[in-house]
Symmetry: C2
Subunit: 294 residues, 2 copies
Amino acid sequence: MIGIDQYLEEKKALVNRALMECLPDSGPQEIREAMIYSLEAGGKRLRPILTLAVAETLGKKDDQVLDVACALELVHTYSLIHDDLPAMDDSDMRRGKPTCHRVYGDAIAVLAGDALLTLAFEVVARYGLKSGQFKKAILISSELSKAAGVKGMIGGQVLDLKAEGRELSLLEIENISIMKTGALLKASVMCGAIAAGAGKKERASLERYASNIGTAFQIIDDILDVESSAEELGKPTGSDRKRFMPTFAAVLGIEEARIKAENLCNEAIMAIQDLGRPVEILNGLAKKLVFRTK
Amino acid sequence: MIGIDQYLEEKKALVNRALMECLPDSGPQEIREAMIYSLEAGGKRLRPILTLAVAETLGKKDDQVLDVACALELVHTYSLIHDDLPAMDDSDMRRGKPTCHRVYGDAIAVLAGDALLTLAFEVVARYGLKSGQFKKAILISSELSKAAGVKGMIGGQVLDLKAEGRELSLLEIENISIMKTGALLKASVMCGAIAAGAGKKERASLERYASNIGTAFQIIDDILDVESSAEELGKPTGSDRKRFMPTFAAVLGIEEARIKAENLCNEAIMAIQDLGRPVEILNGLAKKLVFRTK
């Protein structure tokens, strides 16, 4: 049994290589460059690693689900590019580097986002055609499109834009977090489960695991945004607060928010103890999410 | 045998009803409104009608392919919203109505486009899950994502943006047209063919049909853009010319361009004569594309 940090490093390297292989081998140079730029801007690759970890927990090898894992990261990266646009959050920096539209212009940034979203579904289709797992591929495509759509990520971003400068209740903040961040994190887990052929009971346990780590992740993000220095996070410190953005940290206070995140982490871990599978990696991932420092 | 005009009217009404049923039944109100606004802005519904017509020619009923047909229109509508954005073509009007971003703002317009693209893949997945035709659904999802991607529509839009103010050869204009417009028209035909279970030979004939009408369609669009009045087209007349946009009409002259379109139409019709199917509707659609006045 390797440690969680080594596990994360290895999977991240695996995902990074696979993402580059997903990219189109022809088409206009500038859009492919912008796609690569944003994909290479770093990030923890949390979503694809969750997919790999769930599939592995259920007995699948990485190479059987790597395409699916990449699709999750492609959707995540598209959403960051579009969220950063001047029309949206108007962010100049992301992970310590200028955002896509600052380097390639707004038009190419819109199109690079569109292209990554489109590519995600192409990659899922390719997984189905390569493996012959047509039904699984369709279930994954369905899961991914719902998580990314109006009832998930896009809807969450709309609510987030509307929330700027307003006071929200904890319930409203939780709802935005579930849609904007939680939906895709849950899809990452569920797509791994579908690819591994999980049964109904296993899927229910994993869904509870996913929901809990999704909200925990957002709470920790809010706390880090308040606490961290600009240098560490790669974006202006407290940017959410500057926009008078209601967050878990703002409403609960940092200490209570952290306790809530730890409780959610424990609930996530409890949800999967009855899987009858080796859950060390999933336990480790849940803890890593809550006790991370960036 | 009904006339082509009546056929188009009937199918358009069918597609319009089905599109409204594709829309999410929950999620933030403003994004759903923006999606409906752009979907209801009109248009000929050419792409979904092509899908229905091809499937019907190969013996499938409308209700067996209606979801697939809608997916094509959802992708088309998303591309119009994003193309109209200030960062791209910066168009205030489309089909005689203010564009999506003029009514709902740039942020919601970006997200409404994203949502329609995402919904297209959700609708294709739903087709697969409802019909149990998993392999066909995956092939359709693959076809659609490739047509919409960097080697298709998005790549074409990048080249189109770069072409502004430059002189292009006929070959370059043809290439942009094939990517930007032709790819999705071809996908409309091929998705109908896949849903209807077309064989290899049938698919090859239909692909030739689709390629020829795709370019013919673009040529006629260019001609109409030069000829029509602002009122008729619902956008400023000659807008492509004003931007010094190289078009078929500009390079070939209107008369030669029209002859080229007619030749392509004839080639499209010839391509499907050996199908051994009743091709009157597909013949009629090809002619309608070339002899339309708007």
